[in-house]
């Protein structure tokens, strides 16, 4: 086939990029080679717009065993064990086909974990959708929510990994581009880690798992482009998941690794066979030669182009020690899977693909994996739509505001979602969804790992830099509230089209803010994912940097959110905080009650935040907290209400003497604040004093009511039961609408 400018453009390659291909090869590429380059050099696989800036992120610490560049990051958790974890997006496919898009998002990240030899023990999801009551997109948004949630449930439940938490928020900017970010974590022995490297010239290259079909061809390229009106025609680009096959693949891979015959292994995710071959070769400084006629296929008449670009799921590529192939094949046969030698490791650094003896592609591995174009895209000031100026506003009834806020989609209970996920399988979940952080114990070491996902697109839309810093701070705070020490992070950067300088500026500033905060909180980024081009018809999503942070802790009954008994003093660790009108415009109150967005996100003092977190962990370690909950969306009033929604139905009576206006006092979202109920307030205050942080005793717990007074004025006086009903039933009701 002749390579025409149209053909190049339809592969989303620029003329410059094509010229670079010609110069790297020293000739015109074949059609198959063009396809191979187009996926490897896609934004999704090459990070060509973000790579330059991702280098600013901290990636090392004493605990980091593996940073970015492998299938997942790894940290040492002590006792001879390590954990592998990563977050990845499956945004574009989930819009086009919500159920399969989300399901295969789970499948992809699980393979990233077990390809390294770790058994997945936890999944979390960060989800963003358009509003369920949107006048135009509402019905479609509801269908997407149902589809995404049941897709995640279908895959994770069948595979047998608990889905233990996450977050779910709604904004009009996600109407055409919902976000599905999936996080997974696995555990293994520190000396049994497998890497995705092809080494040992002459070693066999073995294909294992599902057969190759025509599904998902060009999925990586689709994920690297904006959506238009024709996007629904891209449904064939979305892969179809088979969680049972994935479960077989997991067990077979972990068992095959025990034979000692496996040299290197990588899953076939985005860009399938292409990506796994050239990346393994590139990392191992070797060449790989494969023969496509040997590749197991489930359709007839597939061309080399289709086989190389297919993103059929549940497949892996591995390199075994020469002469020991049968040991590996035997294990896969036991699990009923294909395991076929399709090629060999060579010494010439080339990816050589033959089809029935004819060479159809011959490209240096490094050209594909490491020499993709690198762009320093122009960036100006971040795109922002919201005004800086605060409008005049006044509550029309604080009790009603609180009830409405609790029933708003961002704040309301997400039980409808997480009860569809098996969050208990493997019997390690000590903190189920609905807490500030999720916790799994590690049976092998007697320790526990806590994890939290956070990202606030509204904050980031007002200031990408501050929004990213706040996301890191909140994530670390969520871990500290349950008593875990934050140690490492993974990130998922969801943005619009980086070719627009004002969008590129959002990305750059968010990365810089994240880098600064991750350094400050000592949580290096060990890997992650960048999802760009989240735009439809020129409308970009809110910049949405999502953080997944891991914390280490002793195994013990966790500190939970809910008040346990009446009559307990309530300490507001970190104090009331401060807020001015200009920093109130990104709050849940401004959004849900005032229906406005303005100004800047809440101000963060990172030193103070760190001291609050350190104090909190000491309080938990000393066994002083009967309950603890951090203040975030909806501020103090919402945190108090959520703390009252436990089985005991215990509320609170709070008294302040503040000069702040009621709306701000109750609902501002200044960070660095945690509500604690305790029967030993003196000890809690002593720890706070030692760390030089404010810790007023704000009141005490009571039966069945929430009452908040400032000076002589009653701001809130509600029954817990009524608030709880509003909070608990809202999501299911919105979905039925």
């Amino acid at each position: 086939m002749t390579i025409t400018p149209d053909l190049i453009a339809s592969h989303q390659l620029s003329q410059d990029e094509y010229d670079k291909i010609v110069s790297l090869l020293g000739r015109e590429p074949t059609y198959t080679e063009l396809g191979i380059f187009s996926v490897m050099w896609s934004e999704h696989c090459s990070y060509k717009s973000s790579r330059l800036h991702l280098k600013k992120l901290p990636t090392r610490s004493k605990l980091v065993v593996q940073g970015p560049g492998e299938n997942a990051g790894i940290i040492d958790i002590g006792g001879g064990y390590a954990i592998a974890f990563k977050i990845e997006s499956h945004n574009h496919p989930s819009f086009i086909e919500p159920f399969q898009g989300a399901a295969t998002g789970v499948g992809g990240i699980l393979r990233d974990i077990f390809t390294m030899g770790a058994r997945p023990i936890a999944v979390m999801d960060s989800l963003r959708f358009g509003p369920l009551d949107d006048p135009e997109a509402g019905p479609r948004n509801r269908r997407i929510v149902e589809g995404v949630v049941s897709g995640i449930a279908h895959y994770g439940n069948c595979f047998g990994v608990p889905t233990i938490g996450g977050e779910c928020l709604f904004e009009p900017s996600y109407n055409g581009n919902p976000l599905v970010n999936v996080f997974a974590l696995g555990v293994f022995k520190k000396d049994e880690i497998f890497y995705a490297r092809a080494s040992g010239v002459g070693n066999p290259v073995i294909y294992v798992g599902a057969k190759t079909g025509r599904d998902g061809i060009h999925g990586a390229s689709m994920a690297s482009a904006e959506f238009s009106e024709e996007s629904s025609q891209k449904r064939p680009n979305v892969q179809v998941g088979d969680p049972f096959m994935e479960k077989l693949l997991l067990e077979a891979c972990l068992e095959a690794m025990q034979t000692g015959a496996i040299v290197g292994i990588q899953d076939m995710g985005a860009a399938g066979l292409t990506c796994s071959t050239c990346e393994m070769g590139s990392r191992g400084n070797t060449g790989i030669e494969i023969d496509l006629k040997l590749v197991p296929q489930r359709e007839t008449g597939m061309t080399p182009y289709e086989i190389m670009l297919s993103e059929s799921q549940e497949r892996m590529l591995l390199v075994a020690e020469k002469g020991r192939e049968q040991e590996v094949v035997r294990v896969y046969k036991k699990w009923g899977l294909d395991a076929v030698t399709i090629g060999v490791v060579t010494d010439d650094g080339m990816l050589r693909v033959t089809d029935h003896g004819t060479v159809v592609a011959e490209i240096p591995n490094r050209a594909l994996a490491d020499e993709a174009p690198l762009y320093d895209r122009p960036h100006t000031t971040p795109c922002r739509v919201a005004p800086m100026e605060a409008p005049a506003f006044q509550s029309r009834g604080l009790n009603a505001d609180l009830a409405a806020l609790l029933a708003s989609p961002d704040v309301c209970s997400k039980r409808w979602i997480w009860e569809q996920y098996d969050h208990m399988v493997r019997t390690n979940t000590t903190q189920i969804p609905g807490g500030d952080a999720a916790i799994v114990r590690i049976k092998e070491t007697g320790s526990s790992v806590a994890m939290a996902l956070d990202g606030n697109g509204r904050y980031a839309s007002l200031s990408p830099r501050e929004g990213a810093r706040l996301a890191v701070a909140e994530c670390c705070r969520n871990l500290s509230v349950v008593g875990a020490l934050p140690v490492a992070a993974t990130n998922c950067l969801n943005f619009g089209n980086p070719e627009r300088p004002e969008i590129m500026a959002q990305l750059v500033e968010a990365i810089e803010g994240m880098a600064e905060a991750c350094r400050h909180f000592e949580t290096p980024i060990t890997g992650g994912n960048v999802s760009l081009y989240n735009e439809t018809l020129g409308e970009a999503i809110f910049p949405t940097p999502v953080l997944g942070i891991i914390g280490l802790m002793k195994t013990a009954t966790p500190v939970t959110i809910d008040f346990k008994r009446p009559g307990r003093p309530i300490v507001l660790l970190g104090g009331l905080g401060t807020c001015e009108d200009a920093r109130f415009g990104g709050t849940a109150y401004a959004k849900a009650i005032l229906k406005r967005c303005w100004g800047l996100p809440p101000a963060l003092d990172m030193d103070y935040e760190k001291r609050v977190q350190t104090a909190m962990r000491e309080i938990v370690a000393a066994g002083l907290a009967e309950s603890a909950h951090d203040l975030s969306d909806g501020g103090l009033a919402v945190a108090l209400a959520e703390s009252s929604f436990g089985p005991a139905g215990v509320g609170a009576e709070i008294q302040f003497a503040s000069g702040m206006r009621p709306e701000l006092l109750l609902f501002h979202e200044g960070p660095s604040r945690i509500l604690i109920s305790t029967d030993q307030p003196e000890e809690v205050l002593a720890i706070a004093a030692r760390h030089n942080i404010e810790a007023p005793v704000a009141g005490h717990t009571i039966e069945g009511r929430i009452s908040i007074r400032n000076r002589s004025e009653t701001l809130i006086d509600c029954e817990v039961r009524a608030l709880r009903a509003a909070w608990e039933g809202a999501l299911a009701a919105d979905l039925r609408a």
């Binding site: 047998g160 969680p243 049972f244 479960k247 009860e419 208990m424």
Partner: protein, 224 residues
């Protein structure tokens, strides 16, 4: 007392059952691979939760043809104790070892949450360590756990005191709130809730141990 935990390729609560038996219960346990023709020297067999062969067809419909199920049937016919949990219950029903069927939850969605179970009879090797009327907190996690049978079958189950557990707040639409039933010989129990997930205080409940301890006691009694 040696417990055998059957492993189908898609079992995913096999390790949990194994762990509950070996750690909190303190009894030996071994895995039985699905193509084995014998349960060996096991004193009791657990069919764990999961998706035996993917269950893309009716749950348990393929598992009933597996070699290990021939062995389990034989073991049950000889009076051996068989506990089917969740997918294990579905397989027992499909295999004809228990009456009725398990169909899609009334709300059509997968549900994972702790539920309250009432012990309806202590006259079984799976509930002897509890008391009739006692309430246990044990989690469920299933999409197809609605117990269904015709009225005659249900009447007979009740008349023969073969309903071991009922939900106090029916989560899935099961007829007559049934959560667990016995076979005629009272040596095979199928239940949708997961006792192995409620075997330690750290997991929120250790009520599930009532089931496992009852089995140990029954086996000890039959040996004495």
């Amino acid at each position: 007392m040696k417990f055998g935990v059957v492993v189908f390729p898609g079992s995913n609560c096999d390790h949990d059952a194994w762990y509950a038996v070996s750690a909190p219960l303190g009894q030996p346990a071994e895995f039985l691979w699905h193509d084995t023709e014998s349960v060996g020297d096991c004193d009791a067999v657990i069919l764990p939760g999961g998706f035996a062969y993917g269950d893309y067809l009716r749950c348990g419909a393929i598992a009933k043809f597996s070699p290990v199920m021939r062995a389990v049937k034989k073991f049950a016919q000889d009076g051996g104790l068989v506990l089917g949990i969740c997918n294990g219950f579905q397989i027992l029903v499909e295999s004809g070892l228990l009456p009725g069927a398990l169909i899609r939850n009334r709300g059509l969605k997968f549900i994972c949450r702790p539920v309250a179970l009432r012990i309806e009879t202590a006259n079984s090797p799976f509930s002897g360590a509890g008391a009739k009327g006692q309430t246990l907190t044990v989690p469920i996690a299933h999409g197809e756990g609605c117990y269904y049978a015709d009225d005659r079958t249900l009447d007979r189950l009740e008349a023969e005191d073969r309903v071991v557990f009922r939900y106090t707040d029916n989560p899935n639409g099961s007829l007559r709130d049934i959560a667990g039933v016995l076979n005629e010989g009272r040596n095979v129990l199928g239940m949708m809730p997961h006792p192995e997930r409620a075997a330690e205080p750290l997991m929120g409940s250790s009520d599930g141990l009532v089931v496992l301890r009852s089995m140990v006691a029954a086996l000890a009694g039959s040996r004495a």
